[in-house]
């Protein structure tokens, strides 16, 4: 049976103007070093997704999430930088073709939207769909839904993860 919890992360000002006070939701696995870092969009913009043969744009609305997944763990600073490249600086997302040699170089990956479902069965960085993100096996039991009220985390058991709201100033 799934339970859920709402984390009131959303702020109307954006990370660039927030500076040290920008807020993130950090979801850490209790079974491995894996984590997912989530920030919310405060001003809508067109996110560009670059496929091999074309470009597709997805409008991120106020409250939508930008999430960085680190299936093998890593530095929070790395994840926060990736998140802000997309959220604050509108860096396009690049989708690799399946079997591309670059997939194994991606220690962290990014997804964005109002719903994000972690999955452990996808090739890292090769799917254009923004509602899924490569994750560790245990975190793939979670799902995230966003609104201007915050981020709702749905989970089968609280034992598999720890959730906390952290500030930009704690990371940098």
């Amino acid at each position: 049976m799934m339970e859920s919890e709402l984390y009131p992360l959303y702020r109307e000002s954006d990370a660039v103007s927030d500076g040290d006070d920008a807020a993130y939701l950090l979801i850490s696995s209790t079974k491995s070093p894996a984590f997912i870092l989530i920030g919310q969009v405060s001003r809508r913009f067109a996110l560009c997704i670059e496929l091999q043969e074309r470009e597709v744009c997805q409008t991120l609305m106020e409250g939508d999430m930008v999430a960085v997944s680190a299936p093998e763990g890593g530095e929070l600073r790395h994840a926060a930088m990736l998140l802000e490249l997309v959220r604050s600086y509108r860096q396009p997302l690049l989708v690799l073709p399946k079997d591309h040699a670059g997939s194994k170089r991606l220690s962290m990956v990014v997804s964005a939207g109002s719903e994000i479902i972690p999955k452990c069965t996808i090739i890292r960085g090769t799917h254009p769909e923004q509602n899924v993100i490569c994750s560790s096996e245990e975190l793939s039991a979670l799902s995230f839904h966003a609104s201007t009220d915050g981020v709702k985390v749905s989970y089968p058991s609280k034992d598999i993860f720890k959730a906390e709201i952290i500030r930009y100033s704690e990371i940098f």
Binding site: F45, A46, E55, V56, C57, T59, T121, E129, E137
Partner: protein, 50 residues
């Protein structure tokens, strides 16, 4: 379940299919998904499907 050698290659059922739009403000054409297409060039929401 992830295999020990790496993730299993699983084809996702739903592929990313966008609709084509033209921006009425700057004239840029683009492909977008979702309910609120927005011009990636000038950020105008005044767009028309083509």
């Amino acid at each position: 379940m992830c295999s020990g050698a790496g993730p299993i290659d699983v084809e996702l059922a739903e592929r990313l299919k966008g609709r084509k739009y033209k921006c009425k403000k700057c004239g840029a054409t683009f492909e977008a998904v979702g309910k609120h297409p927005m011009c990636p060039t000038c950020e105008s929401e005044d767009v028309a499907e083509v």
